[in-house]
């Protein structure tokens, strides 16, 4: 833009640069940073309607994009009529007690199976459990305790990493084991310890009284498989059930010939599956549209456009969040105008070079 036009437009801003300069950089701004950091990543999904931003691109066609390993909000399984079929829960319950799915037991046996022995505390979130790692978020409604573990971690590496930011440390006993209590700035604490094959980190998020944290750590204990599985949220999809869930989600979603969505390894939530399947299906059809357009195959272009035109009506959309008007305008651009949003030129998305349209539809 030439300088004259630039200056003209600059003056149309609601607030001048001078006034903005007086408003930014306040302690209130820094306060916001602290408040956000005190928010568990697990809770962010609940706090913010995340706009359609591009994460790292899909690693390839025909494979369900691996979900980033992170805490996820677990929906209430009871609201889904057939949820019992898909959840990690007792597959049988009688006077003899609960019988758990083999995979759930495998996960439980590999986990440190920690719970907080305080009736005010419960498990609020759980991550994608795998036999060698997992994560849980405990809360009493005010405070949070984020417990993560992995049998692949090296205790000394983890400790040395955390020591860079810790301001103090001491040896404590937690769940019958010797652990290292690290004190971070802003009244945050973590205990890290070796628990059988696993290294465990129990980190409190947000300002907590030291005495409260010490009481909490003292109440952490190991429980048996039944007790631990019973305490988990009940919306985790077992690997054995993912095909059935996929089939249910894909019941009214067409896919290009030969295209298959492969379920991810490990246990995931229905919430994750829903979003991954919808995103994968849209990406598959746009990819097919691009391929057909390149090949001059008008019939295939029409098939892809028809499929994309019906995407609004896929039943899965009832469970999908964050598809905004901009997204549907981009779909309409292909369907109605034959114009590919994002274009074909290479752009950087994350640390990968992809074509512009892939950023719009496939990540």
């Amino acid at each position: 833009m030439n300088d004259s036009m630039d200056a003209q437009v600059r003056r149309t801003a609601r607030m001048s640069d001078e006034r903005i300069a007086a408003l930014v950089g306040s302690t209130a701004e820094a306060d916001l940073m602290g408040r956000i950091l005190a928010t568990s990543p697990a809770n962010v999904r609940e706090l913010v309607d995340e706009p359609g931003l591009a994460p790292a691109p899909s690693s390839g066609r025909g494979r369900l994009r691996p979900t980033r390993r992170r805490l996820v909000s677990l929906a209430v399984a009871a609201s889904v009529g057939a949820a019992a079929l898909f959840t990690v829960q007792a597959v049988q319950q009688d006077e003899g007690g609960q019988v758990w799915a083999a995979y759930a037991v495998e996960v439980a046996e590999g986990a440190p199976r920690l719970l907080v022995d305080d009736e005010d505390w419960s498990v609020e979130y759980a991550n994608e459990f795998e036999p060698d790692r997992g994560s849980m978020d405990f809360t009493d409604g005010t405070h949070e305790l984020w417990v993560t573990w992995s049998s692949t971690w090296d205790l000394e590496l983890i400790l040395n990493d955390r020591r860079d930011v810790a301001v103090d440390e001491e040896t404590v006993t937690v769940a019958g084991q010797e652990g290292t209590l690290l004190t971070y700035p802003d009244d945050e604490y973590a205990v890290i310890w070796q628990h059988g094959d696993n290294v465990v980190e129990a980190l409190t998020l947000g300002g907590v009284e030291e005495s409260t944290y010490r009481d909490l750590i003292a109440s952490i204990h190991t429980v048996d498989v039944d007790t631990w599985l019973s305490a988990l949220p009940q919306d985790v999809v077992r690997p054995a059930d993912t095909q059935a869930v996929l089939a249910e989600l894909l019941a009214d979603i067409p896919l290009p010939d030969g295209y298959e969505i492969t379920p991810p390894a490990g246990a995931v939530t229905r919430h994750q599956l829903v979003h991954n399947v919808e995103r994968e299906a849209v990406c598959a059809w746009v990819t097919e549209w691009v391929r057909a357009a390149d090949a001059g195959d008008q019939a295939a272009v029409d098939v892809a456009a028809t499929a994309l035109g019906g995407a609004r009506d896929w039943a899965v959309q009832d469970e999908v969040e964050h598809r905004d008007e901009e997204f549907w305008a981009n779909i309409d651009s292909i369907v109605d105008d034959g114009v590919l949003p994002g274009g074909r030129e290479l752009v950087i998305s994350g640390d990968t070079e992809v074509e512009g349209w892939q950023v719009v539809f496939c990540v």
């Binding site: 437009v9 930014v24 956000i36 706090l47 309607d49 860079d164 905004d324 290479l346």
Partner: protein
Amino acid sequence: MAILTRARGQSDYLLASRRQRFEAMFTSHSSAVLAYALRRVEVAEDAADIIAETFLVAWRRIDDVPAGDEARLWLFGVARRVCANHSRGGHRRTVLADRLRGHLATQVQETEIEVEVDDDVARVREAMRRLDDGDRELLEMTSWEGLTPSELGAVLAVPASTVRSRLQRARARFRTQLEIVTKEEQS
């Protein structure tokens, strides 16, 4: 910082290092994001929610946020969508931003200045108002945030060459509208 240079793959949950990265990003770019929001909201304190939502997304997706100044562009990309939701009525307040909202409200009141809008500004505003959203956004981000076409491309997730051509067309349409507005005033 040793944490940032460690070999990857030891852990998916190095929260401490994520915190450091987030803090560095927030410290470097929060004012730019707040300024971006302040230029676009009708009520200054609403900018507090824009910046809060933007950085909540960044916190949740800290592993996706690029390093260095590219983080600023990534944040603008989020902020523009948050602003779009805001303008569509999708705005919701978060308690996290309470203090900043109060600060903005107070400061704006205390420094309330009667801004004189001369005829030239009024004409330019009217010409801008007549542009479509895409053109207007390009011109505003070029002028207000001082972004280059390459940077705009990163924010909008489109190739820089596409931005350049769009920008040329936007400039032309702006000039046309400005001429029309001026003629309308004269007639």
